[in-house]
Symmetry: C2
Subunit: 232 residues, 2 copies
DNA sequence: GAGAACTACCCACCTAGGGGTGTAGTCGTC
DNA sequence: GACGACTACACCCCTAGGTGGGTAGTTCTC
């Protein structure tokens, strides 16, 4: 596990600048939701630019990597973020607390593994602890659930966050078996979610579900992670 | 069948302006191909603006409606074009010469039903005949084939025109049975085409074929027909 | 004229996907 | 506390989709 090799100067909260946090995910609405939820705490946490057209130019204290809709490549993406010197620390923000995911993230050098179920106040405190040099892994939530205030594609159209994640993966071309493996669900569970999603969005085939998704914010935007990877 | 109620003044070819033709289809590359094929005949046929962002502002002599990748709604689209007073005559440009399609087009008021297998010279002559007031239905081609010089999405990636049409319909969410019905093919034939398309574009599932298509020019652009329908 | 590619289609077989129905625990709202 | 929605999952059944292998005629290229 990569050691923290530079801890911030100790100082009173009044004197410290807020922690600069960059958000990384492939879905604008997800990032906007996280930014909005953290905005009341802007005296403690400052969100770096989230415009996908713009690389985050300066060094940031923490990169908060949201795993919504990510396929297996998020292992790779965590590594990309950890390797980038502009990211002093990397924190994973997720529902998936499967033991091997947590272990793998830590092995790659993530300093935090935080649950999306955490209320905003607790998330801020956890980020502060990471900033102070701790390795923080929050308690696994009993089930996938998002904190009030978070957002995801399809939420205004009535999709729950888990349903949206299943649709996000389907929209990237994954089979039901793939989705089950990636989301740590049973194939039967995935089929149940698929059925519910189809009913809510009013389609009767996978292809139409994909087309609906692409028109409703489910097209992943890889530009942010590409900026961190060193691309254009 | 709508009668032609205003024939052009008779004059020698040297004196006449070229015939103004507007092209309508949902695929840029298809229209660009037709325009390019007809360009050598610009003294006889002038192509109106084909930019999808711009409505065709002036009245045109002929609207040439290319049926590539169109689902059943092309019946509706022919009607839209025939009703629009800026289109003096409507001609359908297609491989599908199924009797009921030809009859339906004529009933809707189309003045021409021309094969995409026609060499450029013959197409120009046919358009001139339509312009002169004739109803022209070319001989049905023995099989679906495009004249040299035409273009379609996926052609540079090795897809034949028929394969491309099958992918175009799949990319709009149609089932194999739908595609068979729309393209007047057997369901077995559609499955054979699907297999060949998957092999050529290197995918193994329908969803991935659709995603490939959307990234390779198969996203239909409905703006042109919407301009003719009276929309923005 | 041979060969390749295309159009068009068939048949058999298997699996992924989809629909129906159900259970069970948790959580938020009224 | 009732109720609805959610997460999570099971089982059965059916069909669409996909794969393999094949035929046959046409057309273009070399």
């Amino acid at each position: 596990m990569a050691a923290d090799d530079s801890s911030p100067d100790e100082c009173s909260p009044d004197e410290c600048s807020p922690i600069l946090v960059a958000l990384v995910d492939d879905y604008d609405v997800v990032l906007a939701g996280v930014a909005r939820m953290l905005d009341p705490f802007r005296d403690r946490i400052l969100i770096a630019e989230i415009d996908a057209n713009e690389p985050v130019k300066d060094e940031v204290d923490i990169v908060l990597y949201d795993s919504f809709g990510q396929p297996e490549s998020d292992h790779d993406e965590i590594a990309v973020l950890v390797r980038n010197p502009r990211a002093r620390r990397v924190v994973v923000y997720t529902w998936n607390f499967h033991r091997e995911l947590v272990e793998n993230a830590r092995e790659l050098g993530a300093c935090g593994y935080l649950s999306k179920a955490l209320p905003a106040e607790d998330l801020v405190a956890a980020l502060e602890a990471v900033h102070a040099g701790e390795i923080v892994v929050s308690d696994p939530p009993p089930r996938a659930v998002s904190a009030p205030g978070l957002d995801w594609p399809g939420r205004t159209e009535g999709l729950s966050d888990r349903e949206a994640e299943v649709l996000a993966l389907i929209t990237q071309g994954f089979s039901n078996a793939d989705v089950a493996r990636l989301a740590f669900l049973s194939p039967n569970t995935v089929k149940s979610y698929v059925r519910t999603v189809y009913r809510k969005i009013g389609v009767e085939s996978r292809t139409k579900a994909v087309l609906w998704g692409l028109d409703h914010g489910f097209r992943p935007d890889h530009r942010r992670i590409e900026h961190w990877r060193g691309g254009p």
